[in-house]
């Protein structure tokens, strides 16, 4: 597989089109909503991610709106699918794994079971200039989840 094909796996191109979670934002609501806006200053790409915890299941509900390259859009989509299976703690653990994978410079083997579709981004870690793209949505959701947890603690 050429470098380009490793980067742009079909799964990624599909997610870039599907854009799971790219729906109207939640807006202020109870239970508390966490919201975060992140920018990639190199290219001006941006994303706003909102999340809340379903009081019944404890799981996250995620919505996002953004503009960016196929890697950043696909990453937001794959992340949303994964995060909605998780409670905040579970997401934080996932995020740590994904973050580590992205900084592995192509060395790490992704844990496909845990990371699901996000494992397809392993190839991105060979392209240092694109790592930021893959992480943009994750940074935003991490920040949003942190706010939810803070509201819980308060």
């Amino acid at each position: 597989m050429s470098g380009l094909d490793q980067l742009y796996q079909q799964l990624i191109l599909d997610h870039a089109k599907r854009r799971t979670g790219n729906m109207p934002l939640l807006g202020a609501a109870e239970p508390p909503v966490g919201a975060s806006h992140q920018i990639n200053p190199t290219c001006g790409d941006e994303i706003t991610v909102e999340a809340r915890r379903d009081p019944a299941t404890g799981r996250l509900l995620v919505r996002w709106d953004g503009e960016g390259c196929s890697i950043s859009m696909a990453s937001a989509s794959a992340m949303t699918e994964l995060a909605e299976e998780c409670d905040p703690e579970g997401f934080n653990a996932l995020e740590a794994r994904f973050h580590e994978l992205m900084h592995s410079r192509g060395q790490a083997q992704p844990d496909e079971e845990a990371l699901g579709d996000a494992a397809a981004f392993a190839g991105v870690s060979k392209f240092p200039a694109r790592v930021k793209c893959a992480l943009l949505a994750w940074m935003a959701l991490k920040d949003a989840v942190y706010q939810i947890e803070g509201a819980d603690r308060a």
């Binding site: 050429s2 470098g3 380009l4 980067l7 742009y8 191109l13 089109k17 190199t42 290219c43 001006g44 790409d45 941006e46 503009e67 960016g68 390259c69 196929s70 890697i71 392209f127 694109r130 793209c133």
Partner: protein
């Protein structure tokens, strides 16, 4: 104009073109960001370190004398290259610093520093600073900061649909309140060459200082700052074959002599007591601390090289490249050119928006074919917003660019939408 054989010979002078990327020879179409370096420039720096490295203007020993001569010789060469006198040319680290020095010099004058002579530079509420909508952030943000610091207002000349400045309301925008008119000679995104004459004339009529961002003209066009009649100008060495870490501020002698210093420290003072300091005349007044000496020497070698090839020949050659690129882009479905659609009054810097594919993805696809272009907002966010995009893909050529490299770019660009499924 340079022949294909001449271009081939020129390429031999640039060690980097031996490099392969993605298994093919590198097609470097990112000279608008930074130019590649000929061996003569690399050698000039190396030779300086190996033969005459020493502090300049400070020492009396042999090496120091030789270093000073090399340093001042470079100043004379670069000044002559842009049509200025040596004392009108101050070294800076890059063009950004040069533009900031003007803005901070005005801020310092506005704060009462620099004495009576500097009063002519003072700005305040009711005054305006005028820029254009196409400016690089380096020629926009410092003016925003100056406005915030002094209470002056900021206005701008808008861009038209055709990628040129819309001068319809020039007289209204640059009115008698205008104290500064800062604008780029050539847009780093659109490639547009601006009508300097008309802008300078209007500024003069209302008594506004003109500040020319010559970053994209000095490398590509014959430049005569005295002839253009601007008050200040800024350009960077690294975009015109010189080392990184060196740029220049030009100021008309009379103005530089009155402008307060910005960075202060060693080598720019006459007398220092614990209580205060007196400053030297320009250009030293604006050169605090140890200068980028080896880089200045390299800059001298770079303009010698360019002069040897001939700026008129380079400009002609680049016009042909611009035409090739503009026409090629026009033939690709789903690709929109940002900037003038003809090769007249533009340089061979061609930015495009690929429908349905983000610029980052375009750039990545091209890189995989060994074609290096720049993607993003190119430090010109307002310009991109004006054309309804956040980012674009820019191919920018220089004297060493071949026709074949342009064709490789165009061929790869034509494939992009297919690869990302945007043509379906």
């Amino acid at each position: 104009m340079l022949s294909a054989a001449q271009v081939a010979r020129i390429r031999n002078d640039f060690p980097v073109f031996d490099r392969e990327v993605a298994g093919t020879p590198l097609a470097y179409l990112d000279s608008g960001a930074t130019a590649q370096k000929p061996a003569t420039v690399i050698d000039a720096e190396q030779d300086f370190y190996a033969q005459r490295n020493a502090a300049v203007h400070r020492g009396a020993h042999t090496l120091a004398v030789e270093a000073t001569e090399a340093f001042e010789g470079a100043r004379a060469a670069v000044a002559a290259f842009v049509g200025a006198d040596p004392d009108e040319l101050c070294w800076t680290k890059n063009a950004t610093e040069a533009l900031n020095v003007v803005a901070y010099g005005l801020a310092n004058a506005s704060a009462g520093l620099g004495g009576a002579e500097a009063a002519r530079f003072a700005l305040g509420p009711g005054d305006t600073i005028v820029v254009t909508e196409m400016e690089h952030h380096a020629n926009l943000v410092p003016w925003q900061q100056l406005a915030a610091r002094t209470g002056a207002g900021l206005r701008w000349i808008p861009l038209g649909e055709d990628g040129r400045l819309d001068l319809t309301d020039l007289d209204d925008i640059v009115d008698e309140h205008a104290k500064v008119l800062a604008f780029s000679h050539v847009s780093n995104v659109l490639g547009t060459i601006n009508p300097v004459g008309a802008l300078v004339e209007r500024a003069r009529r209302v008594g506004a200082l003109t500040v020319l961002d010559a970053c994209q003209s000095a490398p590509h066009l014959p430049l005569d700052l005295h002839g253009l009649g601007v008050d200040f100008a800024a350009f960077s060495g690294h975009k015109m074959l010189a080392p990184t870490g060196i740029g220049a501020l030009y100021g008309r002698a009379e103005l530089l002599a009155a402008l307060p210093p910005v960075l202060t420290g060693g080598s720019m003072i006459t007398t220092v007591t614990m209580e205060g300091a007196q400053f030297m005349a320009p250009p030293q007044r604006f050169e605090a601390g140890t200068q980028p000496v080896a880089q200045a020497v390299g800059f001298g070698a770079a303009v010698d090289y360019l002069r040897h090839i001939g700026m008129a020949a380079i400009a002609d050659r680049e016009e042909a490249l611009a035409q090739r690129l503009v026409e090629g882009v026009a033939r690709i479905p789903g690709v929109r050119l940002l900037g003038p659609a003809d090769a007249a009054d533009r340089i061979a810097s061609v930015a495009v928006d690929v429908q349905g594919v983000h610029a980052h993805d375009v750039g990545q696809y091209l890189d995989a074919q060994g074609v290096a272009v720049r993607v993003g907002h190119h430090c010109a966010q307002p310009l991109h917003r004006r054309y309804g995009v956040t980012a674009s893909t820019r191919a920018s050529a220089y004297l060493y660019t071949t026709d074949e490299e342009c064709e490789r770019f165009l061929a790869a660009l034509a494939e992009v939408r297919g690869f990302f499924g945007a043509d379906s």
